[in-house]
């Protein structure tokens, strides 16, 4: 039986889709059978980030409405044979999603995969609430800045009230993933520090992804950062986060200016 994981944040542009792709790929790299589902109907991006945009035939809406079978809509990754994508529809909007339809798709996927990772759209409306509706666990993607933290807090509140598990009186397991962490700016006090974020959200930390050009480059070439440059700092952070999701205990590495400086010197020498 799969674990259904929602990657969510409330605020847009914090790195939900990038993190979905990177965590999905990292889990698949570890040999798990993973499906990533794009819930951002009308504004789909996950297909681009995974480099599968030219192979989309059917999508989530088709499956929800019974027009296509799940097996017809799932796209297998060309590099990782245990990674699958269920794309969103670009021509429809979120109203095309129904709770019954989504429940049926998720139920079918549970029996076929180890992980079903739902990439939530921004906001707290229909798309976002249906993406989290059937989740067993949640990764709340947060940037170390006040607006993002407050939106994450709002989303955690919704995880506690609007999910099927919460309504049954159970607890949705949740994790904070801090992305776009800039050690230099944090040191100058231009960003919230990690402890403040965790104190406000009172939720365990899954990982800290440093701000890096590698992430943008990976998105542009349509390859998850854990695949295209597995030794880069963000890739290592995502790989560790994926191991923690799997239950491994991996020491947390807070990126520091010292390390960056060291890395730069080292990099120069190597070059």
């Amino acid at each position: 039986m799969a674990k259904v994981l929602v990657v969510t944040s409330g605020k847009g542009g914090v790195g939900k889709t990038t993190s979905t792709a990177a965590l999905g790929a990292a889990l698949a790299q570890a040999g798990q059978k993973v499906a990533v589902v794009d819930f951002d109907v009308g504004l789909r991006n996950l297909d681009l980030v995974l480099g599968a945009e030219r192979r989309v035939v059917f999508d989530l809406i088709n499956v929800v409405q019974g027009v296509a079978k799940l097996s017809q809509a799932l796209i297998r990754d060309k590099r990782l044979e245990t990674l699958w994508l269920l794309p969103a529809s670009q021509t429809r909007d979120k109203d095309a999603l129904t709770e019954v339809g989504v429940a049926g798709v998720i139920k079918e996927m549970r029996s076929k995969f180890d992980w079903v990772i739902c990439d939530s759209p921004a906001g707290i409306e229909r798309g976002a609430t249906l993406a989290m509706r059937f989740a067993d666990a949640a990764v709340v993607v947060t940037n170390p800045e006040v607006s993002s933290v407050r939106d994450s807090d709002r989303i955690i509140g919704l995880l506690d009230s609007k999910t099927e598990k919460a309504e049954r009186g159970e607890h949705v397991e949740r994790h904070i993933l801090i992305t776009r962490y800039d050690a230099q700016r944090a040191q100058r006090g231009e960003m919230l520090n990690i402890n403040d974020v965790l104190e406000i959200l009172s939720t365990p930390l899954l990982g800290i992804i440093p701000e890096s050009k590698e992430v943008l480059r990976a998105s542009n070439i349509g390859s998850p950062v854990t695949l295209c440059n597995a030794t880069s700092a963000p890739a290592r952070a995502y790989l560790s986060a994926a191991r923690r999701l799997n239950g491994d205990i991996v020491p947390m590495n807070i990126p520091t200016e010292h390390q960056r400086l060291f890395g730069r010197l080292f990099g120069r020498r190597a070059a």
Binding site: V146, D151, D153, G157, L158, D160
Partner: protein, 236 residues
């Protein structure tokens, strides 16, 4: 010798309106079945209706005049005195029947009929109540508790709010809005372990974050109402 009686000054007739609480019984057809239920219920608390003003609500059961008077007689035999009728058409009533009343408002006394046992019978004093919340209150969440105090063990996030009829106690950081004494209680207070509030209000008088002295921020504080002004002081 004649007794002289001073003529009393002419007094105008005074009509005054007052409202009282009455119990409303709603007969359900068939009446015989309803009486059986009523008897079963009142066997648990025999004296419940003694001396209480009772109104019969006929809205759900269209009865003829004769049936209504029969109903009233049967109730009287059980010691239930009907003072008025509700929910019937005025023109279908007989002048001998109790008067028709309108515009009744539901009040809590109805709850006494919800239970089945005699244990509930008779008016009770309202229990003092308070609300304890053990989890943090997240942005966008709103806790409304007009019946008493609210105690939060965790923090109250920015964008969250607590509205309490009584006082508010936050053992974590208060970063959202706290509105105490919302039902007009000027004695309500707000206590928090770290004051980072967006707004503090007691009985409608408020202070926003901007109006709170910077020296009081991020400290354990206490907030009360003094001459319609919110006062805030550090605890200890």
């Amino acid at each position: 010798m004649t007794d002289a009686i001073a003529a009393r000054p002419q007094e105008a007739m005074r009509l005054r309106a007052r409202s009282f609480m009455a119990f409303v019984l709603t007969p359900v057809l068939p009446i015989s079945h309803w009486f059986a239920q009523l008897d079963k219920w009142s066997s648990n608390s025999p004296d419940f209706f003694r001396g209480r003003p009772i109104i019969i609500d006929l809205a759900g059961s269209p009865l003829q005049v004769s049936e209504i008077s029969q109903l009233i007689t049967q109730l009287a035999a059980r010691g239930i005195r009907v003072m008025a009728l509700e929910g019937a058409e005025a023109n279908q009533l007989d002048p001998l029947l109790p008067p028709l009343v309108q515009g009744g408002r539901t009040s809590v006394a109805d709850q006494m009929f919800a239970g089945d046992g005699g244990a509930n019978a008779g008016p009770r004093r309202k229990e003092p109540s308070s609300l304890l919340i053990e989890s943090p209150i997240r942005s966008g969440q709103s806790v409304v508790f007009p019946d008493g105090d609210v105690t939060v063990l965790g923090s109250v996030s920015s964008g969250a709010e607590i509205v309490a009829g009584g006082s508010i106690h936050v053992y974590g950081a208060l970063r959202g809005r706290a509105m105490a004494g919302s039902t007009g209680n000027t004695c309500a207070r707000i206590f928090c372990n770290s004051n980072e509030a967006e707004l503090l209000s007691i009985d409608g008088y408020y202070r926003t974050a901007e109006q709170i002295d910077a020296s009081l921020r991020s400290r354990p504080t206490h907030c009360w109402l003094e001459d319609r002004v919110i006062s805030i002081a550090a605890l200890n």
